[in-house]
Each structure stands twice: as C-alpha cells, then as structure tokens.
Amino acid sequence: MAEPTRSRTISVSVNGEQIEHDVPARRLLVHFLRDDLGLTGTHVGCDTGNCGACTVHLDGAPVKSCMLLAVQADGAELTTVEGLAQNGELTALQQAFHEHHALQCGYCTPGMLMSATALLERNPHPTEEDVRVAIQGNICRCTGYVNIVEAVVAAGKRGA
C-alpha cells in the first residue's frame, strides 16, 4: 500500500519542459511554480481562490494554482503565462491586450490571459457574453473589464 509521505517527487511538464522535483505535500502549486521554478508570471492575488490571478492550465484546462497542492499536479502538463509567447513573439491574444489597453496595473493580467487563452482554444470566436462567463473567475480591480472583454473578442475575430 502507498504509505502517506510528507513529501513526494513529482514529475510535471511545465511549458513543454519535463521537470522532476521533490516537494513537500503542503506546498501549493502556485508556490512551486513561483518559488521552486522561478516562474513568477503566475501571481498570488487573494490566496483564497477568488481572484484568479494564479490561473494556469493543467492538462489544458484553466485552474487556480492556489487551490491545488503541487503534489496533486504530479503527472500533469502545466502551462503558465510564460508559456504563451513563443520565441519572444506575443500570441494574438497578448497582442490584442496590448492594442486594446486591456490592463492597468497588470496584476490580474496573467490569470486573465490564461482564462481567455483556454476560452479561445475551445471557442475561437467568442461573443462578449462568452468572454464574460469565461473570465468570471478572474477579478480585475482597475479596468472595469470593458477593455479586457474587447481585447478577447478582437483576438477571436482575428482568428487567434
């Protein structure tokens, strides 16, 4: 029988790179990404599962990395905001955020990008309502969401 242990060696793919790492069972995924791997693009916002700033993709689906233990991600494929742009070239969604001024302070932006990227993957041409439902779990205290929604819709129109 698999006896309970206080730490575990996990094997995860992070932005396409296979990583093995020993983590304490109590470590949240967001801290593993930020503190162990140095991927500080994923932000800690509320730390209570409400704000969505820590959103990453786990096996392609957006999840809040502050509501997941790193050991729960063992065997999974993870994508963080650092994994979006390829060779320094922004994705169409990131470009649309830039053009539509879809951020002010930028704190929520990594989570917004991850939620919106997941939406565009399953629904390439979302309506405003689709976007609003998709980013419901992401809180922005600056913009009032208008420019964020516009940017995601525009990225869809562009065929992102």
Partner: protein
Amino acid sequence: MLLREVDYARPGTLEEAVSLLAAHDGARALAGGQTLVNVMKARAAAPDVLVDLADLEELRAIGFADGALEIGAMVTYTQLVASSEVEVARPILGEVAATIGDVQVRNRGTVGGNVCVADPTNHLPPLLVALGATFTIRGEGGERTVSADEFFVGVYMTAVGEGELLTKISVPPSSGAGDGFAGLTIGKHGTYIANAAATVTEDGAVRIALGCVDAVPVRATALEEKLAGGDLSEGAVRAAAEGLGATLDPPGDVHGSADFRRHLAEVSAVRAVLQAASRRKGA
C-alpha cells in the same frame, strides 16, 4: 500561504483508498480540493493525512445502471455540464452545475466534494434530494447505499463515516418527470441565499427540497401533498405555497434576514415547481 504539514498518499485502487482512510486517524479524502485546500489554508480544517482520489478512474465515470444515471464521486462540474448521458437523463444536473463557482472551480470541483462538504448553501444537496438520488458509500466492510433524505446529516456532516468514502450517486430515470431549480444568488453565479429544487412526475407527483434554510435540505412535504395530482398553474402553485415560509426557521446573516429567507424560500419553491411542471412529459 503556508499550510500546516500534512502527509499525502495517492492510492491506485479504491480498496487501498478505503484502507488508508481507515488506518489513519485524521485522514481526509482529497477530491478536487476546491473547498478542502481553502479550509486548510484558513486552518479551519487540519487533516493529518490527505488521501488523494485523483488516480481512481472508476470514480470519474458517468453511466447508466438499471436505467439509473450513475455519477462517480470524482466527476467534475465541467464533466457534468458536457455529459450527453446527463443531458439525456436529467439535464437539470448540467444546468445547475454550469452555475457553480467559475470556470476554474468547475474544472476541478467534484460532485462528491460538493455533497460531502455539505455546506448548507451548496447547489447539489437540495437538487439531489428533490431528484430522489441514492448515495453509495464504501468502507472496509463493504458497500451500503443511503437515500438523499438520509445522506445529509448536519452542517458539513453526511452519512459518510470515518474510514468511509462516497463512491457514486445514482439518480433514478426521469420517466417523463420534469425538474426545476430556482433561487437567489449573491452575484450572477454566486453563493445561494436561498434556493429550491423540484421534480414533477408525469402523473403529477411533486418532490420539493429547499436549500439554505436549515442545516440540511428541507423537504416541503406539506406543499408536495397539496400539489400532488392537482392544478399546477402559476396561480394554483402560488396559492398552495402561501405560508410555506412561516413553517421554516432559517438563519439570518449579512446577505439576508431570516424573514427574507422565508420569503425567498417560498418564491423559489414556486418557481422551481413551475419550471419542473413545464418540463414534464406531456406538459
């Protein structure tokens, strides 16, 4: 946030999971973690051992057995929303699941977690009571099934005992019945202040369960009897439900006084029954 130290196991079989839960004092089953990880952060729960159910594929299945819809305890809300089996058998389950939390929470949160947490404001407990679901609980001594009316025992308490595990939920075939769900939330898809679920069979039998008004879902049996086989027009249902609120003893809090919850329970029950009645076969 730094959690209290905890031991972690990821069993490969159901037998192993149940043995681990039975063998360790302070062991808790970890499903999607959308509640448990948060209450661990807040130190509101401090399990010594987490038994992660992630690898138990049999708990992730949705299927049919003897006509009943069987939903594994580890089925996520997202799975429920996308399931063609749910769509065919009891579409209300997918409709309600689509309004729980947000996209990220629905991707991780599970049906088993929702009912085993047994928070009085959770969506699925009143719905599963109205649908007459049965719950399969596995322990080292074997399996037992418990009806929805007996499953919810108190605030955060269910019939699942120490060393036991909820494995699946069976929902009877609709057989032409229509289902409804209504209530008032804090924000569009937020926590319920009060809600009600209802089922109306083809021959007019009615089941109604009220949420958020007591520790566990409350069956509105007197109203069920008044409506059974009778007129289910809006006027008739409204008239029959009058006074339902006065029979309840809900809590009051910052989101609504006890009196407001009594009012909401009555309104929600009417809306849920009307929706259910409009969806039954032949309506």
